[in-house]
């Protein structure tokens, strides 16, 4: 064995669950992903003790990165308390003794997230891992992976732009609500995972390293810090984030904390009335506490 695990009293699992060979495979892919921003590096994705589609790609990245002094945050759709986030957090606590977990965005060193980037700007001391269901933005226009790989290599995204154009012809607007195709460092276009449009500008010139893991599709890709990330758009139809203004043009506020500068989830009450609340629960708690 060229990576001797530390024996742990009472815990039959290796630190981080994965065996050291699996970690090395992920680690080599991560370094290449960082060196080729936006390129989907194939890797030997392992079976995890949860279904594909429940964040196994993100989890393998987390477990290859994590060390005993980590402060870990797990989010699912902005919330630390939804089922998927709680499950993953408990799994990490069980298999990584010594790791501390938190729900606070400040102070954590590693974040695994499903479908949101925290509202609070991340720092250079943090790494965020996003869980990706479908890594390839070209899959909507080209079924063959061989051909997609060539298109990516040549940075040929004309058919994707045609798709966006057809949206504009039909709806006067690009209708992609999430997974918005985003060009990294002027070459590769990535699927930034199902984050809302609201989060796409956070990819650009980020202080933190952003990693993407697709377990079922066996791909890892990255947006390094301080890298250009441009959502695909046209000069006369610019990219727009979600519009949270009501009929009167007033920006809707979170019903709980009153924040007017966060991404809002819409809740429909039994009566049919709608209320809006922050999607990022840590942000909401923070604003409420300081009010």
């Amino acid at each position: 064995m060229n990576a001797t695990p530390l024996t742990q009293g009472g815990n039959a699992y290796n630190f981080g669950f994965l065996d050291e060979y699996a970690k090395k495979e992920v680690r080599r892919a991560v370094l290449k992903a960082i060196a080729i921003p936006g390129y989907q590096v194939p890797y030997a994705s392992r079976e995890m003790p949860m279904g594909r589609g429940f964040g196994t790609g993100g989890l393998q990245l987390t477990l290859a990165l994590i060390g005993p002094d980590e402060v870990m945050k797990v989010i699912d759709q902005g919330s630390d308390d939804s089922v998927n986030a709680v499950n993953l957090r408990q799994f990490i606590e069980m298999t990584c003794p010594g790791v501390s977990t938190t729900t606070k965005t400040t102070g954590c060193t590693l974040i695994q997230s499903r479908h949101r980037i925290p509202e609070l700007p991340l720092t250079a001391q943090q790494i965020i891992v996003l869980q990706v269901p479908y890594p390839d933005p070209l899959v909507v226009v080209e079924p063959s992976e061989d051909k997609r790989k060539t298109m990516h290599g040549e940075a040929d995204y004309s058919r994707l732009l045609v798709k966006l154009y057809e949206d504009i012809v039909k709806f006067d607007e690009i209708t992609i609500s999430h997974r918005y195709p985003t060009r990294i460092n002027g070459h590769y276009v990535i699927d930034p995972s199902p984050i809302p449009r609201w989060d796409v500008p956070k990819l650009d010139d980020s202080a933190a390293l952003i990693l993407f893991g697709a377990g079922r599709e066996k791909k890892i890709y990255a947006v390094p810090p301080h890298t250009r990330a441009e959502p695909l758009a046209f000069s006369d139809v610019p990219f727009r984030v979600e519009d949270f203004r009501d009929g009167a043009g007033q920006r809707r506020a979170c019903a709980r904390c009153g924040s007017v500068d966060s991404f809002l989830d819409e809740f429909v009450a039994d009566s049919g009335s709608k209320t809006y609340q922050c999607s990022d629960s840590d942000w909401c708690d923070g604003v409420e506490a300081s009010a």
Binding site: N2, T4, L6, N14, K23, A35, I36, L209, P225
Partner: protein
Amino acid sequence: MQTESIWRADVQQRVFRELVEAFSRPGEVRDLTRWIDGATAQRAVLATLMDGEATLTDPHEQIAAADWPLLQARRGTPESARYIAAVGHRVPDFQPAMGSLESPEFGATLLIEVAAVGNGALSMDLDGPGVSGRRELRLDGLHPDWLARRMDWVSGFPLGVDLLLFDAKRIVALPRTTRVAITAGAV
């Protein structure tokens, strides 16, 4: 039997995180001293990245015979291996794999040992992904031909090679996306 620390999983995790930082922030010098005891940075990095799935080549014969069985890496040629260990003061005398348009990750990672990382007569300005504005990097003991050859190797993105430079304890990365402008010290 006491295992040397670089072969321990917990130390390799630390070294890997330093590698992540190095590749994420080209030109930023990372010091491995506190993690690797008496070992050299190059051995620590090799121990962290190698296993039976990796191909490694050692054209300048830097790797001790006793390390090969532990590294478990398959031996390749400089033209085909995914990882190449090399000595920086020698002239590069091989053509590394640069990957293909479809699979640029097959471009080699060059692990180059130099006299000093972070100080020295060779000075360069870096920019590109991972660099906010510009970053200065100083090196000692890198033959200038490496940077000239690198310019060729990385001219056709996404193809290219990724460099990791070492002295005894410090590492710095120059991934294929980093633009290098030599400001002083090249002969």
